[in-house]
């Protein structure tokens, strides 16, 4: 425990906690929302949260590797968004709905 004054000084922990909160927010979206597009947005949110961690670690550990990884993550996120949306479009065309309920065909 370094200092009581969490408002007075900004450290790595602040960024990490921010990242965690953002991640959890995204996760809540993924878990709770019905709209598949919003779901995808929430996933983006989570990815961004992770990115914050990367950058923060990179900064505080004095390395650029974190930024490189963010780079990769972004690329993949964009690609994922593209694929996800394409699938969403397909679903919408078939069911006229974007409800996640229509993805329930993976039943055991």
């Amino acid at each position: 425990m370094q200092s009581i004054d969490i408002f007075g000084q900004i450290g790595l922990n602040h960024y990490l906690i921010l990242s965690a909160l953002l991640f959890v927010t995204g996760m809540a979206g993924v878990l709770l929302r019905r709209n598949i597009i919003v779901l995808l947005m929430s996933i983006e949110l989570m990815l961004n949260a992770v990115n914050i961690s990367f950058i923060a670690f990179g900064k505080y550990m004095n390395q650029l590797d974190g930024q490189i990884l963010v780079f990769f993550v972004m690329t993949i996120a964009a690609a994922e968004a593209a694929v996800g949306l394409a699938i969403a479009v397909n679903i919408f065309k078939r069911y006229k709905e974007v409800n996640i309920r229509f993805f329930e065909h993976l039943k055991g």
């Binding site: 878990l31 309920r101 055991g108």
Partner: protein, 643 residues
């Protein structure tokens, strides 16, 4: 002559006959089948005679012709040979079996001539002779057991010979199963003896018997002999396993004569005599044997007094006479047992064949209430039957007198005997005289009750020859074993029988000196009782035909009970058979189908249910899946943090 060749002929000749007739099972010609079968047994008889002649030629102490064909079973120290031995005891048996057997075969030719399955019949009969020879010739318990079961099997086949009749088939099965109960006990007896003495060979067993008698009830010898005796009660129709014999009369009458009177049923007695040194050392077993024998003798005789079926009367008579033989064994009079066995074989075979002749004449009618005054229609049958009657009720000098008297005397005199046993035997003799006379009266004498339309006729010559031969034997058969006291009186006639058997029979220890006056008194008593009882019967059934039923009415329920054979069959059904079948049904339905099998279903249901439970987690909802991931994350993180 080569002994092993003679022995092979003796044993295999009936078997060959069985094979020939068995392969021609579809043929109907009774003459061919009968000739084959009869000659097969007769050849056997001749070789038996040769063997016995050779045996007689040997010095008395080494009279033993043993032939071993091959080693049957050899496992560890159990070594059983297919070995056969002719000695003093089995010599008597093979002569009876093949001799009486040939006569009965001859009789059957006439008796069965109208039957379609005659070839099969003779095949079974020959197979029986074969098995019976195995039984008596076997030099060890196991070979004896082969014959023991084999004769039971043939008995089953022959009782159920007219298998289309449900009751006859059932009687066959009853005989086999009841015998099987005895056989199971026989097996146990064999196990005990083998594990105690390490051998099943008769001569070795008898040589290994300890010198001191065994007093414990649970000692090896007592237990072993007791089990063997239970086996004997099955085969020889003693209490409590006698129930099959009366039903066995469902078979053709010659079969009853051969199997259920002369030979097979005496196997138990034979076995005990064979092992007499062993049994002697188990006084407890001897006591049981004597008691069972005496009780059977009396009880069967009482039932015999009330029966109306000519063959049933003879059947109960057989049970009763077998009881005498066991009584003799039980009091240590093994020689007398064998003697009675032989005389009984003669006169009972004679009477059964006689009854067969009557039944044949009456067109398959067996109820003696529908007979009477057959004397004039069947003179030969009547005369021979008369000889048998005199023999069985023990009128001197007919054969039955000598053997029965010997038994009664021994049951009184022997240290193993007891006056009560003698009294039971004398009572049995009295009853025997009564019911046999009753049979004679109702069948041959008195007024005719033959229904109209039935024209009794004397049987053909093939049937009367055996009757005559057996009739002669019934008269003279007893003369070879005249008791000392009588022979002393008559001028020192030799007791051939006793001398002959002497080396094989273990003397009863502590036998006191015979008191001549007492013995005479006992003889007089038993003969007197028998005569009186016969006269009473004659009076009741010939002089005043209605008096018998009045007596029966006066007896009331007692008569009912005896007439219904003490309800023993019913009791067995109620106590054992029905509960067993019902219990088995319950076992099958409640235990097998609805419990054990259900258990497997439960196991399957548990697996299925578990699957369904886990399957419900996999409901296709991705958010649910994500939730599981989340739960996992939380759990893992918590665990990590807890550390």
């Amino acid at each position: 002559m080569n002994h092993s060749l003679l022995m092979s002929i003796l044993i295999l000749s009936p078997f060959v006959g069985f094979l020939i007739n068995g392969l021609r099972y579809k043929k109907h010609n009774y003459l061919v089948a009968g000739t084959i079968a009869t000659s097969a047994v007769f050849i056997s008889f001749i070789s038996a005679v040769f063997l016995v002649v050779d045996l007689v030629g040997l010095p008395p102490d080494s009279r033993r012709i043993a032939v071993t064909f091959f080693e049957w079973i050899r496992v560890a120290n159990l070594s059983v040979d297919a070995g056969f031995v002719v000695d003093q005891i089995s010599a008597i048996m093979i002569l009876i079996i093949t001799g009486v057997g040939s006569l009965i075969h001859l009789f059957s030719v006439g008796y069965m001539h109208h039957d379609k399955g005659v070839a099969k019949y003779f095949a079974y009969l020959n197979l029986f002779i074969f098995n019976m020879l195995l039984l008596v010739l076997g030099d060890n318990l196991l070979v004896m057991f082969v014959g023991w079961e084999g004769v039971g099997l043939c008995s089953y086949l022959l009782i159920g010979f007219w298998f289309t009749d449900e009751t006859k088939a059932a009687a066959g099965m009853k005989a086999f199963v009841t015998n099987r109960v005895g056989d199971a006990a026989f097996l146990l007896g064999m196990f005990i003896l083998f594990l105690t003495f390490g051998t099943l060979n008769f001569s070795e067993l008898n040589a290994l018997v300890p010198a001191a008698a065994e007093t414990s009830w649970l000692g090896a010898i007592t237990l072993g002999t007791l089990f063997l005796f239970v086996g004997a009660t099955g085969k020889s129709a003693q209490i409590p396993l006698y129930i099959w014999l009366p039903d066995a009369m469902a078979g053709p009458t010659p079969v009853s004569a051969l199997i259920h009177a002369a030979t097979m049923v005496t196997a138990g007695v034979y076995m005990i005599v064979r092992l007499n040194p062993m049994f002697m050392m188990a006084p407890n077993t001897m006591m049981i044997i004597a008691i069972i024998g005496a009780a059977t003798a009396v009880m069967a005789a009482t039932i015999g007094m009330t029966q109306w079926d000519i063959k049933k009367v003879l059947a109960y008579s057989t049970v009763s006479q077998l009881g005498y033989m066991f009584l003799a064994c039980g009091v240590g009079a093994f020689g007398a047992a064998m003697f009675h066995l032989m005389t009984h074989a003669f006169f009972k075979a004679l009477m059964f064949l006689g009854s067969g002749s009557v039944i044949h004449a009456m067109h398959e009618e067996q109820d003696i209430r529908k007979m009477g005054a057959l004397k004039k229609y069947l003179p030969i049958t009547h005369f021979t039957f008369l000889l048998g009657w005199l023999a069985i009720i023990g009128i001197p000098p007919f054969s039955g007198f000598f053997s029965k008297d010997e038994i009664l005397w021994m049951s009184f005199h022997s240290p193993l005997g007891h006056p009560v046993l003698w009294a039971a035997g004398a009572l049995g003799a009295t009853l025997t005289a009564f019911y046999m006379t009753r049979l004679m009266c109702l069948t041959f004498w008195g007024a005719s009750r033959v229904p109209k339309g039935t024209h009794p006729h004397e049987s053909p010559i093939t049937m009367t020859i055996p009757l005559v031969v057996l009739g002669v034997l019934s008269v003279i058969g007893g003369w070879i074993g005249i008791p000392h006291i009588v022979s002393d009186f008559l001028g020192h006639l030799p007791n051939v029988w006793e001398e002959w058997l002497h080396p094989m029979i273990k003397e009863v220890p502590n036998m006191g000196p015979a008191d001549a006056s007492l013995e005479w008194a006992l003889i007089a008593t038993s003969v007197g009782l028998a005569s009186v009882s016969a006269l009473v019967a004659y009076h009741m059934y010939v002089r005043k035909p209605g008096s018998a039923s009045r007596v029966a009415d006066a007896m009331g329920p007692a008569y009912k009970i005896v007439y219904n054979k003490y309800f023993i069959d019913e009791a067995y059904f109620a106590a054992i058979i029905n509960p067993l079948v019902k219990g088995s049904r319950a076992l099958w339905y409640y235990v097998d189908v609805n419990f054990i099998d259900k258990c497997t279903y439960w196991a399957a249901d548990v697996a299925k249910g578990g699957g369904a439970l886990i399957r419900s987690l996999q409901n296709g909802n991705m958010q649910q899946y994500a939730m599981y991931i989340g739960i996992g994350l939380v759990v893992v993180l918590s665990i990590l943090l807890m550390r």
